[in-house]
């Protein structure tokens, strides 16, 4: 493994040559008790990929059922469980922890030149809480499933559904603590452990996005916890909070739920934006255009995200005035997102663009996020939402944002940092095939759903009118292409682990700090604490000449 020239260039002493965080100690126990942020990040990565696989299987089942207008492979009860578990697994087991807990955990300390996060043991606790929560969710699947939708709307979830709602919501409740602790850890780490010279404005923008995400995680997640606990109390002990037959208010639940879950949308997308920024700047070899604008737009999104939850409730029965105010505020989330978009394009302008696999994901991110963001304008426009609310248009919109943007950024980041994490390169050709099928299959599946939605097809329908069948079938065919794309990507990465070529320390010629140590890094990250003298993404003078 030791590439002598590289090691020398990095200034590693002979004692650390050949050692890294993966082979420092061995055995399952050494992993389960580790406090190394990199190993914890890897364990998170494996966990969220399992969550993604689970959610993906449910997604393919849902699409398969919708191939025909009536029963295809399952009955209505099974279908309702399948779409609920698809949503719950994707949101809580994959997308919320995906980038922050896996890539974030691994790279946040590396990018600021730190040895670890501020509270390494707390970090391990986060992981265990995540696993415990996941076990409760899996237990719910085994003991009768859940059929409430991932939103757990009352009174259906509190009083009517006969499925394992308590186990599932308790699982989410526990995972919430994992999310809070990770957020807290990141905030403290960024404040206290930056290397000498690493000022706030010298941090890579991925870290600004993680900082903004962490703020939301710490502030919003407790509200979800309280809400789910109240739901459990209502269901188990008939304490009237939300159910009108017990004196409660079902619209109150929606306010509580979206007070978390709208900011949570930005827990999901902000890290994706951060990853995209790193990819675009590295692979165009160009310093980021509008550094401060991108940094502050992340913070602005985090703040405004707390003020727009009511746009999920335009037709819920909340007051007309509330809806009007929420619509107005919602449009202002578009501004910082737009600013980022313009700055990303500005970063590509005048660069030297290499179409590496991560860059393909980065460019796909720009394309898909543009569609996801622009279609949000329809839903924020009050009168148009009257028609589109709770139709497939909404399904298509949020898949473009959640999957087309965040998941694509996640896989882009995975390809970008894979050499650093594993010390192995992957087969570029195969990775490109996986990417191409994913990108085509994604648009095939979900663009179709915009058309279904505007034509009036409601969400969460098991049976549907015959007239929607051709488009539903078309969307289902797309899902098979999409599934194949991901399968090839996984095969490609698995083959890389087994037989990939050794990765150099800095295969992409990146300017950020995590590439200035060997691949994979040593347990302490850097042999000598780095001292930062350059601005973000700035290269040493002789290099840029």
């Amino acid at each position: 493994m030791a590439n002598t020239a590289t090691v020398d260039e990095l200034g590693h002493s002979p004692e650390v040559r050949g050692k890294n965080y993966l082979n420092q100690t061995a055995g399952v126990w050494s992993w389960l008790t580790t406090v190394d942020h990199k190993r914890i990040g890897i364990m998170y990565l494996v966990s969220v990929l399992v969550g993604f696989g689970l959610g993906g299987i449910f997604a393919l089942l849902v699409r398969l059922e919708l191939l025909t207008a009536k029963k295809t492979i399952m009955d209505a009860t099974q279908y309702n469980q399948a779409f609920t578990l698809h949503g719950a697994a994707m949101v809580f087991l994959f997308i919320i922890p995906s980038i922050p807990a896996s890539l974030g955990n691994f790279f946040l300390p590396l990018m600021i030149g730190a040895k670890d996060v501020a509270f390494p043991r707390l970090n391990l606790l986060s992981l265990y809480l995540f696993w415990i929560g996941a076990i409760f969710m899996l237990a719910a699947i085994v003991t009768g499933g859940v059929d409430t939708g991932w939103t757990f709307y009352v009174p259906y979830a509190s009083g009517v559904s006969t499925t394992s709602v308590i186990s599932a919501t308790f699982g989410v409740f526990v995972m919430g603590f994992s999310s809070i602790l990770t957020g807290l850890n990141f905030i403290v780490t960024l404040h206290k452990l930056r290397a000498p010279g690493m000022s706030w404005y010298r941090m890579p923008l991925f870290l600004w996005s993680l900082y903004a995400t962490s703020i939301i995680q710490v502030l919003a997640t407790p509200v979800l916890g309280i809400t789910l606990l109240l739901l459990i109390f209502e269901r188990a002990f008939h304490i009237g909070i939300f159910d009108p037959t017990l004196g409660g208010d079902p619209v109150l639940f929606q306010h509580f739920f979206w007070f978390y879950s709208h900011p949570a949308v930005y827990i999901m997308i902000l890290p994706g934006m951060g990853v995209a920024t790193e990819i675009l700047t590295t692979h165009s070899k160009r310093r980021v255009f509008g550094y401060k604008a991108i940094a502050f737009s992340s913070v602005a999104i985090a703040l405004v995200s707390f003020l727009v939850w009511g746009h999920h409730m335009f037709v819920s029965g909340q007051s007309e005035l509330s809806s009007a105010i929420f619509s107005f505020l919602t449009f202002f989330v578009a501004i910082p997102s737009g600013v980022k978009m313009f700055n990303w394009l500005g970063t590509l302008w005048g660069g030297s663009i290499r179409f590496t696999v991560p860059m393909l994901y980065g460019i796909a991110f720009l394309f898909l996020f543009a569609i996801g963001g622009l279609t949000g304008l329809f839903l924020g426009t009050l009168s148009v939402d009257l028609h589109l609310h709770d139709t497939y248009f909404v399904v298509a919109h949020f898949h473009y944002v959640m999957m087309g943007s965040t998941a694509i950024a996640f896989f882009g980041g995975l390809h970008h940092w894979w050499p650093k994490m594993t010390g192995k390169m992957y087969d570029e050709k195969l990775a490109r095939v996986g990417f191409a099928l994913t990108f085509i299959g994604f648009n095939w599946t979900f663009f179709t759903q915009f058309i279904l939605g505007t034509r009036g097809m409601p969400r969460r329908y098991y049976n549907y009118l015959d007239q929607f069948q051709p488009l539903h079938a078309f969307s289902t065919y797309g899902s098979w292409v999409l599934g194949t794309g991901f399968l090839i990507t996984f095969i490609c990465l698995a083959r890389s682990l087994k037989s990939g070529a050794p990765a150099p320390a800095n295969p992409w010629d990146s300017a950020t700090l995590e590439w200035q140590t060997q691949s994979p890094p040593i347990t302490e990250n850097f042999e000598k604490a780095p001292i930062v003298t350059l601005d973000a993404y700035e290269r040493p003078a002789e290099e840029t000449a």
Binding site: P250, F342, H387
Partner: protein, 318 residues
């Protein structure tokens, strides 16, 4: 239930079958074209940069411009103005949709797992079928008996959640003399996707006639006994009274006409026209012995012709 398909008015949207649909579609297309222009500009720039700045080699000249205050301010301010404009576009149609005209016909609407019940001003009731006059504003006063539901008619472009424990309202004025589809669009359980209903729009005169006689345009009046048979099913007589002699909640209708019944107070009565009429209007006055006094009154819910029809029908049940 046979539901007619939703007719398309354009590639994207269903036919406009209400007065507000045009307003909402205008807003839709304003956003649509703004999005198309933005998307083409953004992706055009992306494609151009991908072509122009593709890596040629290590000697590529790199721009060292890292920001431009003028550009950054303009791409913050211009989109802000545009989205504020969109807010007002949406607000206009929204205000129209939220405020029903004062002369609207009010129909009480109840949603439950998994059916829609509509109660008209004169007490008529229809299930999974909403009948409205064309060219008159209609306001639905809605509530749910169990969980959340949502009222959505794609051709009308209106949607409103139906919530237990409170009333919500929605209004529309139908413009097309045709049938269309009503969906439940808030997930409500295993039968959610079957919770559809037919919306029948008809001329005012036909609507009035339907209210009076229960006859749809083109339908002939039924002979009394047949109308009575229909009412037996649609007005839920069949829930408590059997036709085959078996005991449900109330006495069977088999051979009921002309039968002598023991009344709870010990007297007896021969079932004739007057007793049936009285039992419909004041059901608990003379309850047959051995049966609970649970029948609701049909006073105000049945017209004289309906009562005659039920009597005629019961004479035929032997």
């Amino acid at each position: 239930m046979r539901l007619d398909p939703i007719e398309l008015g354009s590639f994207w949207m269903p036919k406009q079958s209400s007065t507000i649909a045009g307003e909402i579609d205008t807003a839709y297309y304003i956003v649509y074209w703004l999005d198309v222009v933005m998307f083409v500009l953004l992706m055009g720039a992306l494609a151009y940069f991908m072509y122009k700045y593709k890596r040629r080699g290590p000697k590529d000249k790199l721009s060292d411009v890292t920001h431009s205050t003028v550009l950054e301010i303009s791409w913050t301010i211009i989109p802000s103005i545009l989205v504020i404009g969109l807010f007002f576009v949406g607000l206009k149609g929204w205000m129209q949709a939220m405020v029903a005209p004062g002369n609207a016909l009010e129909i009480r609407t109840t949603a439950e797992m998994y059916m829609w019940t509509f109660t008209y001003p004169n007490g008529n009731v229809s299930v999974n079928e909403l009948v409205v006059p064309k060219g008159q504003p209609v306001k639905l006063i809605m509530s749910s008996k169990d969980v959340l539901h949502s009222f959505f008619v794609p051709e009308f472009r209106v949607k409103q959640d139906v919530v237990p424990g409170t009333y919500t309202t929605v209004w529309f004025e139908a413009t097309e003399n045709r049938d269309t589809v009503l969906f439940c669009t808030e997930y409500c359980g295993v039968g959610h996707s079957d919770m559809m209903a037919k919306v029948r729009v008809m001329e005012k005169a036909d609507y009035d006639n339907w209210q009076e006689t229960g006859l749809l345009p083109g339908e002939k009046p039924l002979p009394p006994a047949e109308l009575g048979k229909k009412l037996y099913a649609t007005r839920s007589c069949n829930t408590c009274h059997s036709l085959d002699g078996s005991r449900i909640q109330g006495p069977t209708f088999k051979g009921v006409f002309g039968r002598t019944e023991q009344i709870a107070d010990g007297s007896s009565i021969k079932v004739d026209e007057n007793y049936i009429r009285e039992s419909l209007l004041e059901p608990n006055k003379k309850v047959v012995q051995g049966y609970p006094a649970v029948m609701p009154t049909y006073k105000g819910l049945l017209k004289e012709t309906d009562i005659d029809a039920i009597i005629a029908y019961l004479k035929t049940v032997q």
